[in-house]
C-alpha cells in the first residue's frame, strides 16, 4: 500500500469539513438564516456567535453552513455537466484520431477556450435570469472542453498500448474498447481534473454571486455575503473575513486533494514535484 501524501490527507480533511457542514445544515444550524435580529447586528465573534453576526443580525456561522450547500451544489453539478459532455467527446475524438471528428472536437475545444469565460457566464446569467441554475449552466459549459481534452489526451496514450491492440485483434469495436478498456484506465485522470474543476467552480460561483448573478436572496451564498459586507469591511472586519476564509479554505482543500491524488495515482510525477 502506497503511503498517502500529506497534502492529500490535509486536502481531504479540509474539503470534508465543508461538505459535512453543508450536509449538517439541512437538519441543523446554530441559528435560523432567514430571521432578522437587528438588535444583535454586526456583533463581533463571541461564545453565542462564534463567527459573529452580519448587518441583519444573522449568525455568520449558520449563513456559511447554508452557503456551503449552494457553492458545493453549483460546482459539483457543473463538474457533472463538464464530464458528461466532455468525456464522451474526448473518447470519441481519441478513437478517431486524426479523423474529421477528432478535428472538429479539438477545434471546438480551442474555440470555447477562446471565449472569455467570465463574460459569457455573465451573459448567460444576465439573459436567462440570475439564479444558481444558470450559474451551473454557465460554469458547466466551460468545464466541457477541459474534460474533453483530458479524456482525449489520456485515451490517446492508451490506444498505442499492446493490450488495446489485443482487444482490437479479438474483434472488439472502437466504442466497446473505449468503454471497457480506455475509460476505466483514465478514470484517475478524470477524478483529479474533476477535483480541480470543482475548486474552480467554487471560485466562479463566488464571483458570479458577488456581482449578483448567482443564487438569489434569501438563499445565502458566500459570494453575496462578501458583496454585502463590502461597505462594512473596516467597520466590522469579521463580516468580510469569514466568508472569504471559507472560500479560500474550501478551494485550498480541493486543490491539495487534487494535487495529492495526482501524485498518488501517477508515480511518474512524484520525481518531478
Amino acid at each position: 500500500m502506497r503511503r498517502l501524501p500529506v497534502q492529500m490527507t490535509l486536502g481531504a480533511a479540509l474539503s470534508a469539513v465543508f461538505v459535512l457542514a453543508a450536509l449538517v445544515s439541512f437538519v441543523w444550524t446554530p441559528y435560523g438564516v432567514e430571521g432578522l435580529a437587528i438588535a444583535r447586528r454586526m456583533a463581533p465573534p463571541s461564545l453565542a456567535h462564534p463567527l459573529g453576526t452580519d448587518h441583519f443580525g444573522r449568525d455568520i456561522l449558520s449563513m456559511l453552513m447554508v452557503g456551503a450547500r449552494t457553492s458545493i451544489a453549483v460546482a459539483i453539478v457543473a463538474v457533472g455537466i463538464g464530464m458528461g459532455l466532455g468525456v464522451p467527446l474526448g473518447l470519441l475524438a481519441a478513437a478517431n484520431r486524426g479523423g474529421l471528428i477528432d478535428e472538429i472536437v479539438m477545434r471546438g475545444n480551442d474555440l470555447i477556450f477562446a471565449f472569455p469565460s467570465l463574460v459569457i457566464a455573465i451573459l448567460i446569467t444576465a439573459i436567462a435570469g440570475p439564479s444558481a441554475f444558470n450559474a451551473i449552466l454557465a460554469i458547466g459549459i466551460f468545464n466541457t472542453p477541459v474534460f474533453a481534452r483530458v479524456a482525449r489526451g489520456g485515451a490517446l496514450s492508451l490506444w498505442t498500448l499492446d493490450y488495446i491492440l489485443a482487444a482490437r485483434v479479438a474483434g472488439k469495436g472502437r466504442l466497446r474498447i473505449s468503454l471497457e478498456h480506455i475509460l476505466p484506465n483514465i478514470l484517475n485522470l478524470l477524478i483529479v481534473q474533476g477535483t480541480i474543476q470543482f475548486s474552480l467552480g467554487i471560485l466562479a460561483e463566488a464571483g458570479l454571486s458577488y456581482v449578483g448573478l448567482g443564487a438569489q436572496p434569501p438563499t445565502p451564498s458566500w459570494g453575496r455575503m462578501l458583496a454585502e459586507s463590502q461597505t462594512m469591511v473596516s467597520l466590522s472586519p469579521h463580516i468580510a473575513i469569514f466568508p472569504g476564509l471559507a472560500i479560500v479554505l474550501m478551494v485550498l482543500g480541493l486543490n491539495l486533494l487534487g494535487d495529492g491524488l495526482r501524485d498518488w495515482t501517477d508515480p511518474r510525477l512524484r520525481r518531478a514535484r
Binding site: R107, F115, V119, L123, Y210, V211, L226, Q230, G244, I247
Partner: protein, 313 residues
C-alpha cells in the same frame, strides 16, 4: 517557417469566422426587443417599428450578420443603442484603462513569479521550496475580489495610501493614473503570479532532468550556470503559454475587479451593456476580446517557433 506560418494563419482565420457566427447567433436568441427596451414601456408600436428600421433590426439575419462583420473589418463596430456613440469610441476609451491594468498586473505577476519559481526549482525539496509551494497554493485559492476588498480596507481606508476606487484619467498625469491602478493590479496579479510561479518551477525541474543538462553538468558547469545557459530558456515555453492565456484572461476577466474599484474598463462596459440590453456593444466587444485571445494564441505559437527552432518544421 513559411508553411508553418501559413497553416497557423489559416486556422486563425477559420477560428475567427466560426467565433463571429457563434457570437452573432447567441446575441440573436436573446429575448427582448432592443427597440422596445430603449423606448420604454409607454412607447407606441409605430415608434418602436420606426426605431427598429432606423437601427436596421428589421433586416434579414444574414444581411445583418454581413453588415456587422463588414463593419468590424473596416473599423465600424456599430453605434451603441444607449450611449448613442460609436462602439469603437467606447471600446478605445475603456481600453485606456483595461490595457494598462492588464499589462501592469501581468508585469507584476511575471516579476514575482519568475524569480520565485526559479528559487523553488533550484532549492527543490528544501524548506524554501516548501514555503514557496505553500504560499502559491494559498495564492491560487484566494478569490481576487476578496483580496481586493482587503487591500482597500488596509491601504485605502486605514492607511490612506491609495484611493478606494475610481480612475482620474490619464489627463491627471501618469503617476495619478498608475496609482489608481496599483491596488487593482496587485489584486489581479496575486493568483496569476501563484499559478505562473508553479508553472515556472515545474517546467524548470523538468528541464533540469534532461540529458543535455547532465552533459552540461558533466562538463563542469554548476547548477546555476546550467540553469542560466540551458534550462531557463527551455523552461520558458510553458511559461509563455500561460502568460499568453493570462493576458487574454485579464483583459476581460477584470470585470469583477473593475466593479470592486469602480474602474471604467472594458469589463464594466460589457457588464453594463449586458444589463442594459445594449447588444451591439456586447456583440462587438466580445468579438474583439475573442479576436484578442485568438491573436495572442497565434503570437505565442510564433514565439515558440522563435524560441525552439524544432517547432518551425
Amino acid at each position: 517557417m513559411a508553411r508553418y506560418l501559413a497553416s497557423r494563419l489559416v486556422s486563425l482565420l477559420v477560428s475567427l469566422a466560426v467565433a463571429s457566427l457563434v457570437i452573432f447567433a447567441v446575441i440573436e436568441v436573446i429575448p427582448g426587443d432592443t427597440a422596445a427596451f430603449m423606448l420604454g414601456l409607454n412607447a407606441q408600436p409605430d415608434t418602436v417599428a420606426a426605431l427598429r428600421a432606423e437601427l436596421g433590426l428589421d433586416l434579414p439575419r444574414s444581411l445583418r450578420y454581413l453588415a456587422w462583420i463588414g463593419g468590424m473589418l473596416t473599423g465600424d463596430f456599430g453605434v451603441s443603442y444607449t450611449y448613442r456613440v460609436p462602439v469603437a469610441e467606447l471600446i478605445s476609451a475603456r481600453l485606456q484603462v483595461s490595457l494598462p491594468l492588464t499589462l501592469y498586473a501581468l508585469a507584476l505577476s511575471t516579476a514575482i513569479a519568475i524569480p520565485v519559481g526559479l528559487i523553488a526549482a533550484a532549492r527543490r525539496g528544501r524548506p524554501a521550496d516548501y514555503a514557496i509551494m505553500g504560499v502559491t497554493q494559498l495564492g491560487i485559492a484566494v478569490p481576487n475580489f476578496w483580496f481586493a476588498m482587503l487591500l482597500v480596507a488596509l491601504f485605502a481606508v486605514t492607511l490612506r495610501w491609495f484611493s478606494a476606487g475610481g480612475f482620474p484619467g490619464w489627463e491627471a498625469g501618469l503617476w495619478a493614473g498608475l496609482k489608481a491602478l496599483t491596488l487593482p493590479a496587485v489584486a489581479l496579479a496575486l493568483p496569476q503570479a501563484s499559478i505562473l510561479a508553479r508553472v515556472m518551477r515545474s517546467a524548470l525541474i523538468e528541464t533540469l532532468g534532461q540529458d543535455y543538462i547532465r552533459t552540461a553538468r558533466a562538463k563542469g558547469l554548476t547548477e546555476a550556470q546550467a540553469i542560466r545557459a540551458h534550462a531557463f530558456r527551455n523552461a520558458l515555453i510553458p511559461v509563455m503559454t500561460i502568460l499568453g492565456l493570462q493576458f487574454s484572461f485579464l483583459l476581460a476577466g477584470a470585470i469583477i475587479i473593475e466593479n470592486v474599484f469602480f474602474l471604467p474598463g472594458l469589463g464594466r462596459l460589457i457588464f453594463q451593456a449586458i444589463t442594459q440590453r445594449d447588444l451591439i456593444v456586447v456583440e462587438s466587444t466580445v468579438m474583439l476580446l475573442v479576436f484578442a485571445v485568438i491573436l495572442v494564441t497565434f503570437l505565442v505559437d510564433l514565439a515558440y517557433a522563435a524560441i525552439d527552432p524544432r517547432l518551425r518544421r
